[in-house]
Amino acid sequence: ASPSIKVEVMPYKVHRIEAPSNVVETNVEELTNFYKLMYKMRRMEIAADMMYKAKFIRGFCHLYDGQEAVLTGIEAAITLKDSIITSYRDHCQHVSRGGSIVSLMAELMGKQEGATKGLGGSMHIYNRKNNFYGGNGIVGAQIPLGAGIALAHKYKGEPHVCITMYGDGAANQGQKYEALNMAGLWNLPAIFVCENNHYGMGTAEWRAAKSPNFYTRGDYIPGIKVDGMDVLAVKNAVAFAKAYALANGPIVMEMDTYRYHGHSMSDPGSTYRTRDEINAMRTERDPIERVKRLLLNNGVDPADLKKIDKEVKKEVDDAVEQAKQGQIPPLHWLWRNMYAEPLGAGMRGVLPAEYHVPAFDPTYKS
């Protein structure tokens, strides 16, 4: 095992709870893994951007580049038995929860090799096996859903938490306050992670929230504000929050982060914020560069990182090519998996007297 490194992260701001230490332990091996995963996420999203512009991808497509440290730090602090649910900005959860880049890219391209067989698209990707509950297109809806998943963990007596990710825009949704109240009443092992990337579409946080201190917005529920551009700060805080949530109940985390791209592909992302702001984020707070510096400062050979870069790029490029070779779904897949028990009942097609009995066939063998 590589020797322990101690890193001081930005002190946490807290609300109704005592802050954990801001000295985080790590090592070269862990940092290297973080670097790899975050760089993979970055390249994936850049590839998605290119593929979208080349018209291989359609509809809504929301990219995560800039925010990689949040998810990477979360995954480092929990296990695949803990659950995650998020919004439509869900590509990276797919890979962090064990999905392949090929199946992500194929999904974006609407291919049958896709993570959801071309049925779901960019916003609807899941991994039930590894407790990733998607991929939810309605702002705020995932918040009570996540509390419900936490309830299931507790109900079954499992020592697991559910991480519910949502944006600064979503943080104003009423259903969040309803979910927080019930999570509090029932002591659910629920971690509410507000990814504050400072904009909900084109609206700056302070224009949408009278109080943009999202870590305090649980009011009577404790909260912690974390530098969401620093994977170590995130890892440490989530480990703390997980222990807290299992012992006591819900906690709110605000991750101070940034999205480099526009909100979705139709948003250039530059009308409501300045180029300077974006550039400053990239040069001063980029989560990948931060880990890279740490690695170099701890004696890692720059050539090793270059090698990783090259491998990751190739992996992503290959995945894109492979996805391009994928097949579009056969038409009869329209009539699959509408019901787990279809009862033999015919569902109507576009034309009269055209009825189809939808099969339940999650393997799409038929």
Partner: protein, 326 residues
């Protein structure tokens, strides 16, 4: 023996809670208060607060929580004090519960029952009297059930809880206290009715009356009176509004060649509209008369008893409609 619809629902819930420890009940006043309409009477005492959960008055939130827990393998029975209040939560019912299995390519199913009284009660006016049968029945991914009698209530509730998909279960407050005969078979703890099948409540050869929930009783009464005048009505209890049992309807129309739908909901794009459209498309040549709809009047429900009665189908209305084509 006889059993009220309330006891039928209560016993079905009780038995299913006993049968499967993944089943739990949540909603406003379901626990300590024993249910606003006492459908959950005694269950808290028997199964404890983890399985019979009182919620705050936050429909969007607790529905989302229930759906999330179903994604994660529990089998919630989510009570709405009435279905009117579920409008605050309808996004979770449609966009989360109904669509996720399809969107996830079959990965995540949602075994949940949404239940509560639907439609008009007595004297509760416009915001508390809406029928939601047509809305929910339009949504692929949902199953929509509406029991009439105690047999229905038991058999459909048990079927709904055991079903792996989201079921919208539309009860009727006025029927809760009504007693119906039940056979020993109905009282069996594994008495489960098939979802998607209608029941012919009365055979007849002149006109088919098709309805659901409380209106089934009205149709039966109308049929009785009409029989005295020599008009022989077949009465169909839909039980399932989605899927709709087209086969049973078609078989009946092939016999009677005349069909009338009866519902308490509003007419436009109602359940009756669908039945009419299905008959058009699948039985046009069988029809000896136009398919007629008897429906709730197209008004927000008024409070005064006489206006309320005028806004809802009465037995006489059904008789009039039948006579207009018989």
């Amino acid at each position: 023996s006889e059993m009220t619809v309330r006891d039928a629902l209560n016993s079905a819930l009780d038995e299913e809670l006993a049968r499967d420890d993944k089943v739990y009940v949540l909603g406003e006043e379901v626990g300590e208060y024993q249910g606003a309409y006492k459908i959950t009477r005694g269950l808290l005492q028997k199964y404890g607060p983890d399985r019979v959960k009182d919620t705050p008055i936050t429909e969007a939130g607790f529905t989302g929580i229930a759906v999330g827990s179903a994604f994660a393998g529990l089998r919630p029975v989510c009570e709405f004090m009435t279905w009117n209040f579920a409008m605050q939560a309808i996004d979770q019912i449609i966009n989360s519960a109904a669509k996720t299995l399809y969107m996830s390519a079959g990965q995540i199913n949602c075994p949940i029952v949404f239940r509560g009284p639907n439609g008009a009660a007595a004297g509760v006016a416009a915001q508390h009297s809406q029928c939601f049968a047509s809305w929910y029945s339009s949504v692929p991914g949902l199953k929509v059930l509406a029991p009439y009698d105690s047999e229905d209530a038991r058999g459909l509730m048990k079927a709904a809880i055991r079903d792996p998909d989201p079921v919208v279960f539309l009860e009727n407050e006025i029927l809760y206290g009504q007693a119906f005969p039940v056979t020993p078979q109905v009282l069996d703890k594994d008495f489960v009715l098939p979802i998607g099948k209608a029941k012919v409540m009365r055979e007849g050869k002149h006109v088919t009356l098709v309805s659901f929930s409380k209106m089934v009783g009205y149709c039966l009464k109308a049929a009785e009176q009409l029989a005295k005048e020599g008009i022989d009505c077949e009465v169909i209890n839909l039980r399932s509004i989605k899927p709709l049992d087209r086969d049973t309807l078609l078989a009946s129309v092939k016999k009677t060649h005349k069909i009338i739908s009866v519902e308490e909901g509003w007419p436009q794009c109602g359940v009756g509209s669908e039945i009419s459209a299905v008959m058009m498309e699948l039985a046009f040549d069988e029809l000896d008369a136009p398919v007629l709809r008897v429906t709730g009047a197209e008004v927000p429900m008024p409070y005064a008893a006489n206006l309320e009665a005028a806004a809802l189908p009465q037995i006489d209305d059904i008789i009039k409609a039948v006579k207009s084509i018989a």
